[in-house]
Symmetry: C2
């Protein structure tokens, strides 16, 4: 079943002025499914027959059908709010900024979610669960994400390491084996040092899981498994911030899955770590 938006795109070229008016109203209205044809015609300054002509053109057999479809889609769309409306302005106070950051993140999550290939992610999970050693590589802000990842995965008990220094990264990479997994993080996908290190790691036989925000980049292409974050650029706030949150969500997802599919060994290790941390806090 085609969505309202898709149907419009399909007929985009043949849409007439009043049809566009109707569509605008439907999009603008926050509860379009409650509108009767009459109300809609008044709102859009258009005659009722024009509405009928439109929904027929779009392939609906009745006005009801259009409304039901719309209600359906609104329920889903609600989560991925439009990016433009959530642009952060200089005059926004902290609470507004905070809300908008949340909205932008939600939008980015939806966009990213759409591109996820489950099989690939589950393959990554399997690789990590069975890996000899796990290395997290990143630089700058991506370096802190790498550390965050390492922190989490340390709990499953294997050898887990985060390294931000390119020289050390290189040393590790040169000594890897087929059992090792590298989780490399680079927002741009073109971080020179990481490219080099990933290259070395692959030469050593290690598998590379790449987390990045840009698809057509050197690093994205080198990846054995690619986890791609999507985000909408906004004027005031670099999308890097949003992407970083999505990247963390990726790591959380991987971790959650590794624990879920992991055998008793992993589950016991996680419990032990939990106890250890609790003890420290006391």
């Amino acid at each position: 079943m085609l969505s309202f938006q898709e149907r419009i795109l399909q007929k985009e070229d043949s849409l007439t002025a009043s049809e566009i008016k109707i569509i605008d109203q439907l999009k603008k209205h926050d509860k379009p499914f409650l509108l009767s044809m009459n109300e809609l015609s008044l709102l859009s300054n258009v005659s009722e027959p024009s509405i009928i002509r439109l929904y027929r053109k779009l392939g609906y057999t009745s006005y009801q059908e259009l409304k039901v479809t719309l209600a359906q889609e609104l329920a889903n769309q609600h989560s991925n709010l439009a990016g433009n409306e959530t642009a952060i302005l200089e005059e926004d106070l902290a609470d507004t900024v905070f809300t908008k950051i949340g909205d932008q993140f939600s939008a980015a999550m939806s966009m990213t979610r759409e591109k996820i290939v489950v099989e690939e992610m589950e393959e990554a999970v399997k690789l990590i669960a069975e890996a000899g050693r796990i290395f997290f590589f990143g630089q700058g802000l991506s370096g802190t994400i790498a550390e965050d990842g390492a922190h989490k995965f340390m709990r499953i008990g294997g050898t887990v390491l985060a390294e931000k220094d390119p020289h050390y990264q290189a040393i590790y990479a040169s000594q890897m084996t087929e059992n090792d997994v590298v989780i490399a993080i680079s927002h741009s996908g073109e971080t020179v040092n990481i490219i080099e290190v990933v290259h070395m790691a692959k030469s050593s036989g290690a598998t590379v899981i790449m987390i990045t925000s840009n698809e057509n980049t050197t690093l994205a292409k080198m990846a054995d498994i690619l986890l791609l974050t999507q985000a909408q650029e906004t004027a005031t706030r670099s999308d890097a911030m949003t992407s970083r949150l999505v990247q963390l969500a990726f790591l959380d997802t991987l971790y959650t899955r590794v624990v879920a599919v992991g055998g008793d060994t992993i589950k016991k290790a996680v419990n032990k770590s939990r106890l250890a941390v609790t003890k420290m806090k006391k």
Copy 2:
């Protein structure tokens, strides 16, 4: 205007069997506003007059009014999804886990947002913008958040430092002045080392901005400014992961605001940093 739920609670005691059936159907249905009286009566195995009797009892003057109210409320409810429905299950595959993590984060953001006192956050912004030095203190996972914060704030040009080691933290704390700001991060609010260090920092005259998830804790009470994250505990996934994302959003918010209110000096510094990073990537 009373909500549907409130109206029901009000009349709870006088509701009859068939009225309860109707309410159940309305609640169960995901698009109740699309139901006609006839459809609803069939679904709930109840006569149409019973429906009329019900909406009158609840104080609506027409069936339409009930539907509009319901549509309104559903639209709102949708954003703050119930925590239970988004619980991550062991059998959920990666894409589902990812989506649920996003939902949990959104819910946590809404809950946190509700408790934000703008004035306090803006006060924090002012303190940071005018601070002599800024110290980010955290341990474990909170340590990586501290580093993340430092990374961002380094760009505004002042002296910014993240420290995860308690001993170094202590040394810094002992040498602080009234111009210094500590941003301390502790999920639990009871991290022993951080308590000590915050204590020392306060003795030295520094201002302490505390980011934590638990309100009635030692650290929350010691804070000059408290930024409290809210999250719903779920069975499978520790709320720590969600809180951490919210904490990052807090830091993003502070940073965005500091740049916004900051004078030319800060803006120039941010631009310089941006150039520096771009250069490195090439």
